[in-house]
Amino acid sequence: MAQFALPNNSKIKKGDSYNVAKGDAKNKKMFKVYRWNPEKKDEDGKVKNPSIDEYTIDLDSCGPMVLDALIHIKNDVDSTLTFRRSCREGICGSCAMNIDGTNTLACLKPIDEVKGDVKITPLPHMPVVKDLVPDQNHAIAQYNSIEPWMKTDSPAPARERLQSAEDADQLNGHDGHGPAACILCFCCSTSCPSYWWNGDRFLGPATLMQAYRWISDTRDEATGERLDQVEDGFKLYRCHTIMNCTNTCPKGLNPAKSIAEIKKLLAVRK
């Protein structure tokens, strides 16, 4: 049944405080960061509860984005802070985390957009590996389950399979914000209450948008098979149009619309 409080071993305690901003620093900001390390144990050998560590830094000593601050903290304050990052320009999807209450990419989130202290926690409702690193295995396996590659029965042509510019717009969007622009950061799936409650079976907005990316691809010949794959009360219809996915997408994409298009196609097919 529903669980209304965190289990005892997940309750968040107050953690360490670091203040590395010099007294005369003009641009101080506090970052409150979720910390949990499965190797940190108490005297009884039990894994210690997660905590919120506080880092007060001088913003003049780092770049403008939240990721810049995290890298500054890891480099110069506390090297044990663990998070994923790679491209630092919003194309790899590694640094997805919850910043100031919204899932987003740390590299695309300007620090000055956050009023007051910057609260950072991992993506919600995924098992935590360490600190800000969530275990995304299940979400990625769900993405694999929709077979995200082109499927064709007709023999391969001598050159690439052609598509008109209008057909390509179905995937890319005329403004570049179509389903193919998704970088699979899973900000949307982990913002979706339906995915929180039923993520074991509901595919989630990220995977469903990719399902639609292939369903709407004019070169793909497995549209019916793909619709069969998602026609299910849980895999697709757990989406109740809550729209958190579209609100949170750091790339400005619209997963809710893709899901609605799948539902429309299923209704039309009926």
Partner: protein
């Protein structure tokens, strides 16, 4: 019933994600929920209007006479069927969303269907009895 990936240390992530596959159902539920929602709109406006203008303050005999008129009886039956069907579909969604014990969910889903079928039939029977017997 034990799902093969539950409690297994060596589960396949893809096997777990695919689960028991797609049922091929859901689209009917989705369409019916929307059709009944749209149907409920005029029916509920009619019902509220009727209660205000004909039912409120009416005596027993006056109400029976009003309810026995064919148009009123038909609209009342349509309201009952549409509202109860919509309620059954909606509560099914709530149960599926929030009940995570498979056994409890199974009986709850059957119970919902039985409850709303029974109450809808009781209402329709009552309306017909008033219409034909008085």
């Amino acid at each position: 019933m034990k799902l093969k990936w539950k409690d297994s240390r060596f589960d396949s992530q893809l096997g777990r994600a695919k689960g028991l596959g797609a049922t091929g159902h859901g689209v009917d539920h989705w369409i019916h929920q929307r059709i009944t929602a749209v149907a409920n709109l005029p029916l509920m406006i009619w019902l509220v209007w009727s209660v205000v203008h004909h039912v409120a303050g009416a005596s027993y005999e006056e109400f029976v006479a009003w309810q026995a008129q064919p148009l009123n009886a038909i609209l009342m039956i349509l309201s009952v069927v549409s509202v109860f069907y919509h309620a059954a579909l909606g509560t099914q969604v709530i149960a599926e969303d929030y009940i995570h014990n498979e056994g409890l969910k199974f009986f709850k889903l059957i119970g919902i269907k039985l409850f709303f079928s029974a109450t809808a039939i009781a209402c329709v029977f009552s309306i017909l009895k008033i219409s034909f017997v008085g």
